[in-house]
Amino acid sequence: MGLATEKAPEYIERMPGGSFMLTRMDQVINLARANSLWPLTFGTSCCAIEMMMATGASRHDIARFGAEVARPSPRQADLIIIAGTIVKRMAPRLRTLYEQMAEPRYVIATGACTISGGPFIYHSYTTIRGADEIIPVDVYVPGCPPRPEALFYGLLTLQKMIKSGETVRKPGIRKKPVLSALPPDVSMKEIEAQMQEALEKDSEVDVEKTRQGLKWPTGI
């Protein structure tokens, strides 16, 4: 990250009004980072077409957000949009790509396959069930495949996260955006219970029993 972000804050903070300056600096840096997300040209399957649609088609035009500079080399990219299923053979490569990227780096996972494995969860001997088993994901965009508009929403959410999250003093720590606030007297446990009830009612599948019967993977 260099001198500016590692050594400078200590000296600036000691100056009169230094902390105010640091905050301003954070804001400027975050604004710059948020508005200049260069994606890596990476796509494995169907979602990649919708991603290309978002970047390519003039109707959608991701360039408006300053994110059309698709870099083929991970060294120069800031954002990796995981578009499509990740399988066992691809997983180490994805990890390598992520590690080759320079900090700060951001990840958007688009589509059902990258979030959970999608239609390929059961009976598939290669599909990784969720790309977040391999690399940390910042924003999930559901859909199969998500529309370009959905991808834009994901991108804007990521921008919001970057703008409000990282500071020069604590790089790499991001505040996850709260998408919807809970009502005052409802706890997360109650919501989970309700969701389970609804699920059981709709599909007539005993979730608890199923869960016990399943062998979840321990690693890749």
């Binding site: 990250m1 260099g2 500016a4 972000t5 400027v28 840096i29 604004l31 710059a32 980072r33 508005n35 200049s36 003039s58 035009d61 360039a63 408006r64 957000f65 300053g66 059309e68 500079v69 870099r71 083929p72 080399s73 060294r75 120069q76 800031d78 080759q100 320079a102 900090e103 700060p104």
Partner: protein
């Protein structure tokens, strides 16, 4: 006729006194050393600031031009119509992690981008932007520029070699071959103009176009030289359709595959500034540089043209050529390696030599289009 109507209203043939920054410094040195130091500092800051500002502006323009060619809008969110997009990119690139690959040749890897940017800066200081806006005016300007521009490829070669990446190496080798080949054509077309102008000094070449620009005063020879220069310098800039060293769909990132953050931005910047230098050189040599549009003998017309400041003339001409290069980039597909070499050695080089010979004949026989 026009002279009769306007009488002495407009001075005929305003003369331009070329005063470069280095001249001012030398003059000031005799009188006041502090003033000289001030001038030197001004030059340094000016070149540095101009370099980065111009780079950012050109990147923004490139993105906008591309977007509008492709029926879209381009950057829109940062500032008015995305004006500050390049600023955001620059800040981000400055603060990105600086990765040096484990097996890379550290020293060469670190100095390669610096080579690239130094070559660019050295080229920039020679460009006469207006009679009073030029940093140095060497008497061998043309030779110096062509020498310095070849220096840039050294940075690219070093980058490709030191990255320890096969794709980078392939890209660097392509760049080397391409540079060496096309440099010949560039020099040949530069020689045509120096023959016409009778000087290697850039400001004198500009002055020599007082009665008309070399692109049309040199008959067809000037026009051919202009096009050869345009094609060959586009090839030297590594811009499509000659962007083989960094051909995205073939070599991923080419020579800069392993570069990140600030060092990558040096290459990025150098590429765009080089585009400016090539355009400015084309404007200076063939389109009269800062010299207004003159037709020999028509004094009133020439005087009217003189009302527009020379700086604007230069900016207009350069912008036009930059736009031309961008236009080509977003329209044409890429050539193949052997086709690229064939174009140079089998087409541009013979044309260049024949053109030079024709130019020499013209100069000896004094068969200019407007002999007055």
């Amino acid at each position: 006729m026009l002279d009769f109507l306007f009488g002495q209203l407009v001075a005929t043939h305003a003369t331009f006194d070329v005063v470069t920054l280095s001249d001012r410094t030398t003059q000031a040195l005799a009188e006041d050393p502090w003033l000289a130091a001030g001038y030197a500092l001004l030059g340094l800051a000016g070149v540095g600031g101009f370099l980065s500002l111009l780079g950012m502006a050109l990147i923004y323009v490139e993105r906008k031009v591309a977007a509008h060619f492709q029926c879209r809008l381009g950057p829109m969110r940062v500032g008015w119509h995305g004006m500050l997009q390049s600023v955001a990119d620059a800040i981000k690139l400055l603060l990105k992690e600086d990765i040096i690959p484990d097996r890379a040749d550290r020293v060469l890897f670190l100095i390669a981008p610096v080579f690239s940017i130094i070559a660019t800066t050295l080229g920039l200081i020679l460009i006469p932007m207006s009679p009073s806006l030029q940093v140095v005016d060497l008497n061998i300007g043309v030779i110096f520029i062509s020498a310095v521009s070849s220096f840039g490829v050294l940075g690219i070669l070093l980058a490709g070699w030191s990255s320890n990446n096969k794709w980078s190496l392939l890209g660097a080798m392509r760049a080397g071959a391409q540079f060496i080949s096309y440099e010949i054509s560039v020099t040949l077309s530069l020689l045509v103009v120096t023959l016409f102008a009778g000087s290697l000094q850039l400001s004198e070449i500009v002055q020599s176009q007082q009665d008309g620009w070399w692109i049309w005063r040199g008959h067809i020879v000037g026009l051919v030289a202009f096009f050869v220069f345009l094609i060959a310098s586009t090839a030297e800039l590594n811009r499509p359709p000659f962007d083989l060293p960094e051909a995205e769909s073939e070599l991923t990132g080419g020579f800069h595959t392993e570069y990140s953050g600030l060092r990558f931005s040096f290459f990025f910047l150098a590429e765009f500034i080089n585009m400016f230098i090539a355009s400015a050189l084309a404007a200076t040599l063939f389109l009269g540089g800062w010299m207004p549009f003159h037709i020999g003998g028509l004094h009133t017309f020439n005087g009217l043209m003189d009302l527009i400041p020379p700086g604007l003339w230069f900016a207009g001409k350069t912008t036009f050529i930059i736009f031309l290069i961008m236009w080509v980039r977003w329209t044409f597909p890429r050539l193949r390696v052997d086709q690229l070499m064939r174009l140079e050695w089998k087409f541009l080089l013979p044309v260049g030599f024949i053109n030079l010979f024709a130019a020499a004949t013209l100069v000896i026989t004094k068969l200019y289009f407007f002999p007055w």
